[in-house]
Symmetry: C2
Subunit: 489 residues, 2 copies
């Protein structure tokens, strides 16, 4: 069965994206390397003058029998070695030689690493339309900036999760884009309320909905397959795009159980089990080419690679490429040669092994955090949903139960601030949820939408990612104590 | 003598740059690493899960006795080795360990490489004011994009060289910024005409003047010290900024002489001679903090490092940093660790040796190109000025001398197109000058400025950078033949 082609959605492009022209110099480049032609057209430095003759990296060997965090030993390491000249590189491996990686060109990314990622993407997401593509970026922060530049002009509106990554909201604000919140509950965006919001929308529709749908920052929530389908249908109905920002997608875990003995039985082992356990992405249900997916190695390999990729329909990605040509150009050549070198040596199979290893590590961290909350936080007042993905958990409280709620003028934010300070006093810092609250509004204002949570609900975001496990337990014991003291329990 | 502080020029900031806010999360980060505090605030992955345990690179050893293009041998190489953990790194060298380089943070760049570049910048440019700073970027293309975002709003005007890098012009156009040409002659911008243009300016003044002042792309011209001073004074008078885009600054050469035997005598050898031979930058005469300098390793080490840096007054650079936090974040960690590792091992002295080596290579390439033009191009009709910097040379012609000039309706562009095609037919491609022509205009139009060159002047841009020397000579012989054929000589 041949897959359908993406729908033409170019009417969503921003003024800036529409007005980009191809460089006239491009027409000359067809003569580059033509036999008999002396090409004096391009200002490229000779690779002879690149001072890096070869680079190498020591990396662990798949399938990581001792876990992905184990110290590499002499007997258990793979060496990624990449030379300036192609002829010195391994004949069996598709490396990106430095004379190419460190030269101008390949704005979309080097073909070897793009091919690896396309194969991986097809395996994980099985896109239902034919003319999709994948280009590199320097990480999701930049992909998000490029997305806003590509689709939004000053004064446009977008939909965002009611609580969202504050830096992502700030990116939009500075560009003059209104970030209109969509109601969430503990499982993320509530489709019914999104439908109401768009059905009663006044004025120019929002350009797209921006969602960190798996292991959401800050709430730790993950959208179920059912909700994704409903949201997709709403996006189709109202002709808006979906931007899925998915740095945490591969930090999906086993579901939490308080029964310690049952935990080991839940772990996935085979590649097939692992792929099946992944929640379906928006990309995987996108029959129209309406989804732009922002993907990244930051949480999976390392943030400092500054390598992300954008998946979506070819026609829209072409506009990103024109933007990248006149801004970032492409990710670092070292990053491309070394990361590609790593992936080619691990293979698709070894990369899945790495992701399975990550899943196991994060499941364990999450378990330790939730165990500590269950143990140290006062049960009668603490709300929490064990996350199934990502780096974050939240603990929620009913601010009206605070003894000084009346004295605070019934202001839940004052309760939140008091608890934050009490946490610091006890020696544990978690971030107040209100710091992530999206505040945008259109002019004129949109009609009210029912709220999914009580106005007195407050929450704090914590992470289990960056903290040693014993410190995590100690920290949560301290914050639990702060809750007790503050709520007079 | 204490240096003066920069003038407050914040009124030049764009709407976007003004509206950027600090993240509230920043206030929490002061508690990071505080004794007794469990910090659950940040979503950083553990360095244990970075699969890169150590990286290394083979680079040539300063002072590059056999030239900078010589093949590295076993006996003549320096190994840059950087480990994940600080304790495994060399104790005598300021390396950037991978656990830091590959983690989030340090938007401005890693301190070690910034310090090296600041010391280098002070040595070369001796800035006359005190509160200057330097931050990293992912190359001048991105620095330029960030500069436009930081100072220009849609509808603003900027001044650019009449012929400029077409990709840089395109960046401005897509952002809705008008690029108004400034008259040039064979030595670059003509200060007197710039003064006239600004004195008679109608409406909102341009935000800044953008200049590739050394080895200009496409004309190959370089502004003299005198012209730079005059232009700076004009910028002060009219309160406009100067953006100096200087990727070719260290591709300055000896002046050309046709006397081959005299060439070797002209080469600089000592660091002192070398630094003295550099044309003074706008930065070096900037007493007000009115100059933003865009600098890069692309032409000096390799384009694929994607590492540039921006020099200017602290207050203005802070706005770039806020932009970088929500876009590129910072250059690749591999790039920072390896490039810093290289520079720390070479030292300031070794880096100057490298630049002296580059000077010698480019002088030789330029000489070969100019020798070939002198030999193969018809003298009676070819105008050329041997460049003193950069990768480009131009050959100019009086279109009115073309036999079909009348038949072409006295249109010099038709002569240019005919000569381009004739070049291709003969087997040599050079880029028509009109492809770089800046076309912007304001509404209402500005009063006419006298032109510095004849309207019938056409030119072609060639490069000696990317071509082996024998091919360069052969190519120019072919283009010389094309000129003869086209002009009926």
């Amino acid at each position: 069965m041949t897959k359908p082609e993406a729908k033409d959605l170019s009417h969503h492009l921003s003024v800036e994206a529409r007005s980009r022209k191809n460089s006239p110099l491009k027409s000359a480049f067809k003569y580059y390397n033509l036999p008999g032609m002396t090409f004096l057209g391009g200002g490229l430095p000779l690779a002879d003058y690149f001072p890096f003759d070869s680079i190498s990296a020591d990396v662990p060997t798949a399938p990581f029998a001792n876990g992905i965090g184990a110290q590499i030993t002499k007997d258990d390491k793979t060496v990624v070695e990449v030379h300036k000249r192609k002829e010195f590189n391994s004949k069996d491996i598709s490396d990106v030689e430095l004379s190419r990686a460190l030269q101008y060109g390949h704005t979309e990314g080097q073909p070897e690493i793009l091919n690896f990622l396309k194969e991986h993407t097809e395996m994980v997401h099985k896109l239902p339309y034919s003319d999709w593509d994948l280009i590199s970026s320097v990480g999701n922060t930049q992909s998000w900036d490029a997305t806003l530049r590509t689709f939004c002009s000053r004064g446009d509106s977008i939909l965002v999760e009611e609580y969202s990554f504050s830096s992502a909201l700030e990116t939009a604000h500075a560009q003059g884009v209104n970030t209109i919140p969509v109601q969430m509950d503990s499982e993320g965006i509530v489709p019914k309320l999104l439908a109401t919001q768009l059905d009663q929308w006044v004025g120019a529709k929002p350009k797209f909905i921006y969602t960190i749908c798996t292991g959401q920052n800050p709430t730790g929530s993950s959208l179920s397959a059912e909700r994704r389908k409903e949201i997709y249908e709403i996006a189709v109905k109202h002709d808006i795009l979906i931007i899925e920002d998915e740095p945490y997608y591969f930090l999906q875990m086993e579901t939490y159980t308080s029964d310690v003995s049952a935990r080991s039985k839940k772990a996935v082992h085979s590649h097939e089990e692992f792929l099946k356990a992944m929640v379906p992405s928006f990309l995987s249900i996108d029959i129209e080419g309406r989804v732009i997916r922002l993907d990244s190695f930051s949480k999976v390999l390392a943030p400092g690679l500054r390598f992300g990729w954008i998946v979506g329909q070819k026609n829209l990605l072409e506009r990103y490429t024109r933007l990248h040509e006149v801004s970032i150009q492409c990710p670092s050549g070292f990053t491309q040669s070394l990361t590609n070198g790593l992936l080619q040596r691990w293979g698709q199979s070894g990369y899945l092994d790495w992701l399975i290893g990550l899943r196991s590590e994060y499941t364990h961290k999450r378990d330790v955090a939730i165990d500590a909350i269950a143990k140290f936080f006062p049960k009668e007042i603490t709300e929490y949903v064990p996350p199934v993905a990502g780096m974050f958990f939240t603990t929620g409280f009913d601010a009206s139960k605070h003894p000084k709620f009346e004295e605070f003028g019934r202001d839940p934010l004052k309760v939140e601030a008091a608890l934050y300070e009490r946490g610091l006093e006890q020696g544990c810092l978690m971030i107040p949820g209100s710091w992530f609250k999206s505040q945008g509004e259109t002019t004129p204002k949109q009609p009210e939408v029912p709220t999914a949570t009580s106005p007195n609900h407050i929450f704090f975001r914590g992470t289990y990612a960056a903290v040693p496990l014993d410190a995590l337990t100690v920290g949560l014991e301290k914050f639990g104590k702060a809750v007790e003291l503050e709520f007079g329990l």
